[in-house]
């Protein structure tokens, strides 16, 4: 019962926001909000691999690219036909587009998850920086492949993707990624992931099937990165391989580490912070990227455990501290 109430509450809230936002924010601020949301999904999903499980992955842009291109190709070749067919049946365009987008996102997510499974497999043998290099290599291989495949536009990019994604869909993706992460963290499976992060040998000795858990973390993380990629594609309606360089992967890692490894709320806050920061710094022009990188260094020096460490931001506790006396 309670779960259903939450679900409907979230849906209603997002729909309300979707209606209200255009009145409150101009398209620029809305776009920044949507990009924040996409980065939140990326950071939360990478947090599953890097923060929860302690595996060092720097190829998240690769998973994102697979999801983006996979879902975009589906929409261009199948999804648009579905929408016109559904429109012929008298179904409202919003619902038809929503349905097609949902299928496209799922497809992109699943494709990325398959890639995640393939990349997760070597993690059985490789540790630490060696795994990092394999994931980095994977990300680069994906980018080079896309740059050379003419069917997806190669370096010319893929224009004309139907712009179906909006704040509602991105919000839904964010909610799904967060809810799944929270549930995972509280479950036995999540405890197993934490055990692997803290001491892999000890975890194995205690009977944790480290192999399948590590692969699981990769698969779920990649799935959501794929979803984020799909949303990115259907929001900007244009894709180019230059959006998925290893610098993108590094940005996502910076979000996870800055938020605090393993902290879901930390990842969310850091993702929003690091998306807004470059926008806020626009007035300083030439110094923008210099201040951005300096702030990254200073934040890491003053707050090496990340903004929240491995704790979660708890609104109830904050409230209690702010107003002592109230229950």
């Amino acid at each position: 019962m309670k779960r259903a109430a939450w679900l409907f509450g979230t849906l209603a809230g997002l729909l309300l926001l979707d209606v209200l936002l255009p009145r409150l924010l101009n398209p620029y601020l809305r776009q920044v909000a949507v990009l924040c949301g996409i980065n939140v999904i990326l950071a939360v999903s990478l947090n599953l691999i890097n923060g929860f499980t302690g595996q060092f992955s720097i190829g998240h842009a690769g998973f994102m690219a697979i999801g983006a291109y996979g879902s975009a190709m589906f929409s261009l070749h199948v999804g648009e036909r579905w929408v016109s067919a559904l429109a012929g049946l008298g179904i409202p365009a919003v619902i038809a587009a929503g349905f097609a987008l949902f299928v496209a996102l799922l497809l992109g997510g699943v494709l990325a998850a398959i890639a995640g499974y393939l990349v997760g497999l070597p993690s059985l043998r490789l540790r630490g920086d060696y795994l990092a290099i394999v994931t980095l290599g994977f990300g680069e291989i994906i980018r080079v492949l896309i740059t050379n495949i003419d069917a997806v536009g190669a370096s010319r990019g893929l224009p004309g993707i139907p712009p179906w994604a909006n704040f509602f869909w991105v919000g839904l993706g964010v909610a799904a990624a967060i809810v799944l992460s929270v549930h995972l963290a509280r479950s036995t499976h999540g405890r197993a992931l934490f055990a692997i992060r803290d001491d892999e040998v000890a975890a194995e000795a205690l009977g944790v099937d480290t192999t399948s858990y590590k692969v699981l973390a990769f698969v779920i993380g990649a799935f959501f990165a794929g979803i984020a990629g799909g949303l990115f594609a259907h929001y900007l309606s244009y894709l180019n391989p230059n959006s998925f360089t290893f610098i993108k992967s590094i940005e996502v890692i910076a979000m996870v580490v800055l938020g605090g490894m393993g902290s879901i709320t930390g990842s969310v806050i850091a993702a929003i912070l690091l998306t807004i920061l470059p926008e806020v710094l626009r007035p300083v022009k030439d110094l923008r990227m210099i201040i951005y990188s300096l702030m990254l260094v200073i934040l890491m020096i003053t707050r090496p455990q990340g903004l929240l460490g491995d704790r979660e931001l708890n609104l109830r506790r904050l409230w209690r501290r702010a107003a002592p006396g109230t229950p």
């Binding site: 620029y28 190669a154 912070l273």
Partner: protein, 402 residues
């Protein structure tokens, strides 16, 4: 606990800056705000800077000639950086249109970034002039999108014709930059046109922008014995390619497009480039007074010759200024809609609609990059010149008309 306390002012500061930045959008005085976006940082920073230089120079001249005003309104140009990333270009243009309330947009160099930003301009009804995106798709986005350069198919044909007819070549190899849509597009159209003219493409090799070593590709090309190598890249790599080609004993000429135009081309390539040809918008030894005064002003301000991108940006800004001026004389009431005070109103929409029509009607504009006429697809039609490099100097060779 101590660290948490330290964190609060920091977060508070970030929040305060955010609110400040978001708060200060419009200014009270009525002015003409024009947006420009480009890659001021990142891999393509040099092209973004050239664009900015060209636009700045046009604005300087407007200031000198008309006190920086068009139709009584002061012109202000807001420049935004997109770090050479398509999604950043989209965000930058959103910001220009919605935050700075610009009435027209100038940019981008790379077609990929123009393609990401053009739908936003089109949807908002704000005219956008790309100085140098050559991919045909850019202006196909909609009727508010224009360009100042020729498109890939034309330039590819120019060099193919030149190679086949003027140089009488039969066997040409291609060395293209796969990371660069401009290079890939040009290579494709060149190959099509050259084969149609009876030539043969004997080998196709590729590199990625930023590479330093091209010896492996060149060694392979050398084995194919071409009569020339078509290198449709940017000057940033071409100089090195020429040098390494000569080192490996390749003596045939290299051919290229407008991406070659820059001071640095000859500086980096040196004598290795002698006997090479490329197509361009202008030739520095053309006595046309307009071009010469532009070159002089550019050298005086930036201490170097402009590359093709700088020249195109200069023309783009001037075509925009001229169109705005035409609107001001034609109908002062409609023109007022372009002012920052009218942002978001129906008057703005009416003004940009009319501005769009005026830009589209540009005919025989005497630009520094040639005489510009916009066709029905909002692409510039203008002749291309072929430049030969002789004894370390760029020498005009011939003009090829569309």
């Amino acid at each position: 606990m101590t660290s948490r306390i330290r964190l609060r002012p920091a977060l508070g500061g970030v929040l305060a800056i955010t609110l400040l930045a978001l708060g200060c959008g419009g200014s009270t005085q009525d002015e003409l705000v024009i947006g420009e976006y480009g890659s001021l940082s990142g891999n393509d920073a040099t092209f973004g800077q050239s664009t900015k230089n060209g636009v700045e120079l046009a604005l300087d001249e407007l200031k000198a000639a008309k006190d920086g005003k068009i139709g009584g309104l002061r012109v202000r140009i807001v420049v935004e950086d997109d770090q050479g990333r398509p999604e950043e270009a989209a965000t930058a243009v959103q910001k220009l249109i919605n935050q700075d309330r610009v009435c027209a947009v100038l940019g981008e160099v790379a077609s990929s970034r123009s393609l990401a930003a053009a739908p936003i301009s089109q949807a908002a009804g704000v005219p956008m002039i790309s100085p140098s995106s050559t991919n045909p798709r850019v202006t196909q986005v909609g009727d508010y999108i224009f360009r100042m350069c020729f498109i890939d198919p034309f330039q590819g044909t120019v060099m193919a014709k030149f190679a086949a007819q003027n140089l009488g070549l039969k066997r040409v190899a291609i060395l293209k930059d796969v990371r660069n849509d401009y290079s890939v597009g040009l290579a494709q159209f060149y190959a099509d046109a050259f084969v149609k003219l009876g030539g043969q493409i004997v080998g196709e090799q590729a590199y990625s922008a930023g590479d330093q070593d091209f010896r492996a590709q060149l060694t392979n090309v050398k084995g194919k014995n071409p009569q020339a190598i078509f290198v449709p890249g940017y000057y940033t790599e071409v100089g090195l390619i020429a040098r390494q080609a000569r080192e490996l004993g390749i003596t045939v000429p290299l051919l290229g497009g407008d991406g070659w135009e820059s001071d640095q081309l000859l500086e980096i390539g040196g004598p290795a480039l002698n006997g090479c040809y490329y197509s361009n918008h202008f030739s520095v030894d053309n006595p046309d007074p307009r071009l010469q005064s532009f070159l002089k002003a550019y050298r005086a301000k930036y201490g170097a010759d402009p590359d093709a991108i700088g020249g195109l940006a200069y023309d783009a800004a001037n075509v925009l200024f001229l169109s705005m001026d035409k609107l001001a004389t034609e109908n002062a009431e409609t023109f007022k809609g372009l002012g920052s005070a009218a942002a978001g109103s129906d008057a703005r929409r009416a003004a940009t609609t009319r501005l769009r029509e005026i830009i589209a009607s540009t005919r025989d504009y005497p630009g520094v990059t040639g005489t510009i006429t916009l066709d029905a697809n909002r692409n510039a039609r203008k002749p291309a010149v072929v430049i030969e490099i002789k004894d370390g100097k760029k020498v005009y060779n011939t003009t090829i008309n569309p």
